[in-house]
Subunit: 368 residues, 2 copies
C-alpha cells in the first residue's frame, strides 16, 4: 500500500463516528483530497475538525475525483458499521473508484476481494482491493528475533480495550519526531494499518502466530529506526482479548511500556460484570509477565480524558493516574506526548547510539 | 466424530515416536483393532506397550481391515512428521480405508480435505475426512459464559510447552472417575481432540477468538459434568506461544490450576536462550493473571519425570517441586494423579453439589 492522494469514505458518520477517517486525516502520510459524506456535502473538513489539513466534503466518489482533478490513487473506507459489514449504499462509490483506476482500501470484516462483482471489476481495471484485516499467508511462530533489532521498542498496553492505545502510539511517534528522534509507528489493528499503510492485523492471525506476526513487523523495520512504538491491543486482563495482548507483549519484546487508560473507566468495556483491577496492579502484571521474555518497565502513562468534563478535571485525572502508578503521565491528545518521550529518553530508549548516527538518514517508510 | 472401532496409522514410529497413537491407545474411548507400522508388522501392541488393550501390528490398512473382520469405522493418522506434512507412503493405506468405507481422522497441518484425490474419493464413497486442526468457522469472541457452567473447572498450565499437560489432564480425569467424580476432559490440541473425539484446536483459531473457542467447549459440556479438566497449551512466559496460553486461562475461567513441569527443564524448549523463571514465580504469574477475570489458585503440581534416571530421582524431583511451589505434587504417569484429585477436592472442586446428585448418571460423551 503506497497511496499519495486519497479520498476517504465516511458517509453519514463524519467526523465523530468515523474513527478511521479521522485517524488517516490526523496521522496518515497520505494527502486526503476529499471526504465522502452525503450528509455533510458542501462543508469542509475544517468546519468539523480544526487541526488537520483541509479538504472538501463531497457526496460521491465522482465529486471527489473531480475535486481532486482526477489525481486520486485510492479510496479508503473510513468508517466501520457495527459488525463490520459492507453498506450497499457505498457500492456505487466503490465501483466509481475502481472504474477511475483507484485502489480501494478497507478494514471491514467483509472482504472486498470476496465480493465477486467488485473483484471482477478490480481485475478488469487492474486496481487492487486491499482488505487490511486479511492476514498475510506466510506468517509463522515467533523465534525471539524481535530482541535483536537495532531500535528500542516502546509498546502501548492498556487497562482495557478502547482506551486510546493507537492514538497514544501515534502521538508518541509524532512527539518523538518533533524532538529529532527517528521513530516509527508499528500498527497492529486495521485502523492503524490504514493510517500507516502497512502492517499485520494481529487480532486476525492464527493464534499460534500472534507473537510471530508482531515479530515479523519488528524485524521488517527495526533496523531502520531508533525507536519503534508498537500499537497495543486489548488488555492483559480482558475476558476475551487478553490472548492478543499477551502475544503482542512477548512478540514485541518491548524495552518499555506505556500504560494507557480511559479516565473514569471502572469496568471492562462491553463486559461490565468484570471490574478493572487497581491501576498499580496493571504495572506489576505487565512487568512481571514481560520479564521472563524481556525485562520491560512501565515508563509512563497515557490517560484518555476525552470523557472528562473540563481541563481541570482532566489534569486531576492525569495527576491521580501518575500518583497511583508511580510513573509520569499525560493525556497525549489534550496535553501532547512529550512527557512520554521524556520518560522514554530517561529510561534510555530512543536515543540511538553512536554507531547508529550515520544511518539516521534512512527512510522512515516501511515496505509491505 | 464418533468412531467405535478404529485402526491407527503409525508407520515406522510405533510406539516411541507415535504420540497420538499412544494417546488414543491409552486414553481414547475408541476400540483400537490394529496399529499400522510396517517396521513392526507381526508384533503385538503388548510387545511394546504393556498397559493398554492389545491389538495386532500390521503392515497395511488392508491387513488391519482383515484382522478386524471388516468392522472398522475409521483410520486415525497416529503420527506427525516434523512440519506436519503428509507422507506419500501413507497414501495407499488412506485410500484403502476410504475404499472400505472408513472415515479418516488426521491432526496433520496438511489437510486431507484439501488433497483433491482423497477428497474426491471420500465424496464418492460417502465417508468423512476429519482434519482436526481445521477450526470450526462459527467461532467468535468470548462473552464470559464459562463462569456460568455448573462444573468446576481445572486447567493444566505449564512452565513450558511439551511438559505433559495433555497427559496430566487425561490422568486427572481418569483418577477422578475412579473416585466416582463425573469428570470430563476438554481438549485444546490436535492429539487431545483425536483422543476425545471432539474439541476446538485452540492454537489454530483466529487470535481474537482464542478465549471464545475455549468458552464454546465449556458451554457445550459444562452443565453435564461436575469437573472439567481443560488441557492447557504452551506457557505464559513462552516467547511464541503465550498468547494461546493466556487465552485458555481467561477463556476457561478456571477455578483451579495444575502447574505442569518437566523435571530438569531449565530453558524454554526450542528457545534455549530464554531461561525458565523460578517455579514459585509461575504460581504468582498464573494466579495474578487469572484473578481479574476469575480467582484461581494453583492447587497442585504435575511433574513429568520421564527423563529422570530412576524412581528415587523422580521422587526427589517431585518433592523438590512441591517444596518450591508450596503445593502437593505428583508425576501423574509414574505415581498416578490421585494427589491432584485430592488437592482439587480439598479446594472444593469436583464434588458436585446436592442439586447435581440426580444428574450424575448423565452420559460422559460430548457431542461435536
Amino acid at each position: 500500500m503506497d497511496h499519495e492522494r486519497i479520498a476517504v469514505l465516511a458517509h453519514e458518520k463524519f467526523p465523530d463516528r468515523a474513527k478511521t477517517a479521522l485517524g488517516v486525516l490526523r496521522y496518515g502520510d497520505q494527502d486526503v483530497r476529499a471526504v465522502l459524506d452525503r450528509d455533510r456535502a458542501g462543508d469542509s473538513v475544517s468546519d468539523h475538525v480544526p487541526d488537520v489539513a483541509d479538504a472538501p466534503i463531497v457526496a460521491s466518489f465522482d465529486e471527489a475525483h473531480a475535486a481532486a482533478e482526477g489525481a486520486l490513487d485510492a479510496l479508503y473506507i473510513g468508517i466501520a458499521p457495527i459488525g463490520g459489514g459492507f453498506d450497499e449504499s457505498w457500492r456505487s462509490d466503490v465501483e466509481a473508484a475502481i472504474e477511475a483506476g483507484c485502489d480501494v482500501v478497507s478494514g471491514l470484516h467483509y472482504f472486498l476481494n470476496e465480493d465477486e462483482e467488485l473483484a471482477a471489476l478490480a481485475a478488469e481495471r487492474g486496481v487492487e482491493l486491499v482488505d487490511v484485516r486479511e492476514p498475510a499467508d506466510d506468517l509463522t511462530v515467533a523465534t525471539g528475533a524481535s530482541g535483536d533489532v537495532d531500535a528500542d521498542v516502546l509498546l502501548t498496553v492498556g487497562t482495557d480495550c478502547s482506551v486510546g492505545k493507537m492514538t497514544a502510539s501515534l502521538e508518541i511517534v509524532a512527539a518523538a519526531r518533533e524532538r529529532g528522534i527517528d521513530a516509527a509507528f508499528v500498527p497492529t489493528g486495521q485502523t492503524g494499518i490504514m493510517i500507516a499503510g502497512w502492517g499485520n492485523p494481529i487480532d486476525r492471525v492464527v493464534s499460534d502466530f500472534t507473537a510471530g506476526a508482531v515479530e515479523e513487523m519488528l524485524v521488517e523495520v527495526g533496523d531502520d529506526h531508533d525507536l519503534l512504538v508498537v500499537e497495543g491491543q486489548g488488555s492483559i486482563v480482558h475476558p476475551a482479548y487478553s490472548a492478543v495482548t499477551c502475544g503482542i507483549l512477548h512478540g514485541s519484546m518491548a524495552d518499555g511500556l506505556v500504560l494507557c487508560h480511559a479516565a473514569g473507566r471502572e469496568v471492562v468495556h462491553g463486559y461490565e460484570s468484570f471490574d478493572l483491577p487497581p491501576l498499580a496492579d496493571y504495572v506489576d502484571l505487565y512487568e512481571d509477565l514481560a520479564a521472563p521474555v524481556r525485562e520491560a518497565s512501565v515508563v509512563a502513562g497515557a490517560v484518555n480524558t476525552k470523557d472528562v468534563a473540563d481541563d481541570d478535571a482532566a489534569a486531576e485525572a492525569v495527576a491521580a493516574f501518575a500518583d497511583e502508578t508511580g510513573v509520569p503521565a499525560t493525556d497525549p491528545v489534550r496535553h501532547g506526548a512529550d512527557a512520554v518521550v521524556d520518560a522514554a529518553l530517561d529510561a534510555g530508549l530512543g536515543a540511538g547510539d553512536a554507531a547508529d548516527a550515520d544511518s539516521e538518514v534512512a527512510g522512515e517508510g516501511a515496505a509491505e
